[in-house]
């Protein structure tokens, strides 16, 4: 079955005919060509596919795109404004919160959601806040530092 959906992604409205079974992550990557959102496990475990739907972090490999009809979606591509990094992106850059970068889009979106709920988390709140997003490279220490730096930046929107 084909469905007509309209989804606002990073502030731009997109309308497309899609199959009901198309996952949100594939809608973003394959229909809209927004390949910043990654697919790691495809089994809701790794968080690489994390995006914001109506401001809430979700694993987009476990949501059908039709369920996002009418919703506001933010991906990593939507964070930078006027050529300037979002404070979370800047903090990951400054603190070297990545190595291969595969988990980074999901990690950054998870951090954006975490800091919105809890603007000055403790280290243990950070570690439990990001536990749904896995990194195989960094050992997490620099990621935690990056989250702390973003929280302390005073620039969070």
């Amino acid at each position: 079955m084909s469905y007509l959906v309209t989804v606002r992604v990073n502030g731009v409205e997109h309308t497309a005919h899609i199959e009901a079974r198309l996952l949100l992550v594939n809608f973003l990557r394959d229909v809209l060509d927004l390949t910043g959102t990654h697919v790691g496990c495809d089994t809701s475990s790794c968080g690489a596919c994390t995006v914001l739907v109506n401001g809430q972090a979700v694993k987009s490999c476990t949501v059908f795109a039709v369920q996002a009809n009418g919703a506001d979606v933010t991906t990593v591509e939507g964070l930078a404004k006027d050529g300037k990094f979002h404070p979370v992106q800047q903090a990951f850059w400054d603190e070297h919160g990545l190595q291969c970068g595969f988990c980074t889009p999901g990690m950054i979106m998870t951090t954006v959601a975490l800091l919105k709920k809890n603007p000055s988390p403790t280290e243990s709140e950070i570690r439990s806040g990001i536990r749904g997003t896995l990194c195989r490279c960094t050992g997490y220490n620099n990621i935690v530092k990056a989250v702390q730096a973003a929280a302390a930046s005073g620039r969070m929107p």
């Binding site: 079955m1 469905y3 199959e19 009901a20 079974r21 495809d42 089994t43 809701s44 475990s45 968080g47 994390t50 809430q56 972090a57 979700v58 694993k59 476990t62 949501v63 059908f64 039709v66 369920q67 009809n69 998870t110 959601a113 975490l114 806040g129 990001i130 536990r131 749904g132 997003t133």
Partner: protein, 290 residues
Amino acid sequence: MVTSDFEYLAPSTVAEASRLLSKYRGEAKLLAGGHSLIPLMKLRLAEPKYLIDISQVKGLSGIKDERSAIAIGAATTYAEIESSALIRRRFPILAEAAGQIADLQVRNRGTIGGSLAHADPAGDMPAVVLALGAELVALTARGTRTISVDRLNVDLLTTSLRPSEVLTTIRIPNLPARTGAAYKKFENKASHYAVVGVAAVVTMGAGGVCTGARIAVTGAGPKPVRAKRTERILIGKELTPSVIRRAASRAGAEIGDRFNDDIHASSEYRAHLTAVMAERAITEAAARAK
């Protein structure tokens, strides 16, 4: 992974959802948070022809104060439960347990009703709601039915909800005075599902003697169960550490030889964990009952 194709239906009322469920009986499934169903569909262990999305249905989510109880809509997410001031004040065990489920992202989608209907043997909410003595309301095309939580769980992934019933409300009755509640789980480090979890609700009488106890165990066997042997040992006694330990050591009695045995834990280890988690949960509940 790609699921089988299906027809997507997004009713706006519960009555409409239940009508669709009856109409496509056997071929349709409700879709709430999708965090149990979509993974199953990706593996093609479930191939519904129709998916009825209830996540947007009005009146199916949210938390209401009914004075003698609170009523939680079936499509209420864990994140909403975790952050509800009403729940934190009246039933902190629910917020505590919700906050231990999976991760931030999963808690934004997963719902209490989906968890109860799916009946994963390692689910958290089924045990907590069982210990709290909840009452469940289900709707069919013919009307509503109230189900005591004690009669909900039938077997592995099987509940007494009928295929055409929509679970609409989870009603948690007020607890008596001097009652404490706690949920303790030993979690799988990757998924955070319960390897074993125990929810304890304990009431203390004026004389310092336990007058009521509901203890529920999840993760250990095919379905969540009340540890009735443990409850009987606690009731009528002062809850000293040795009484609690002796009672907790019987928390696996109802599971008998049906302890789960899988890559996460052997049945022997689960039997051991059941006693340990029961002791921790009862100790904490008793401390809070004062």
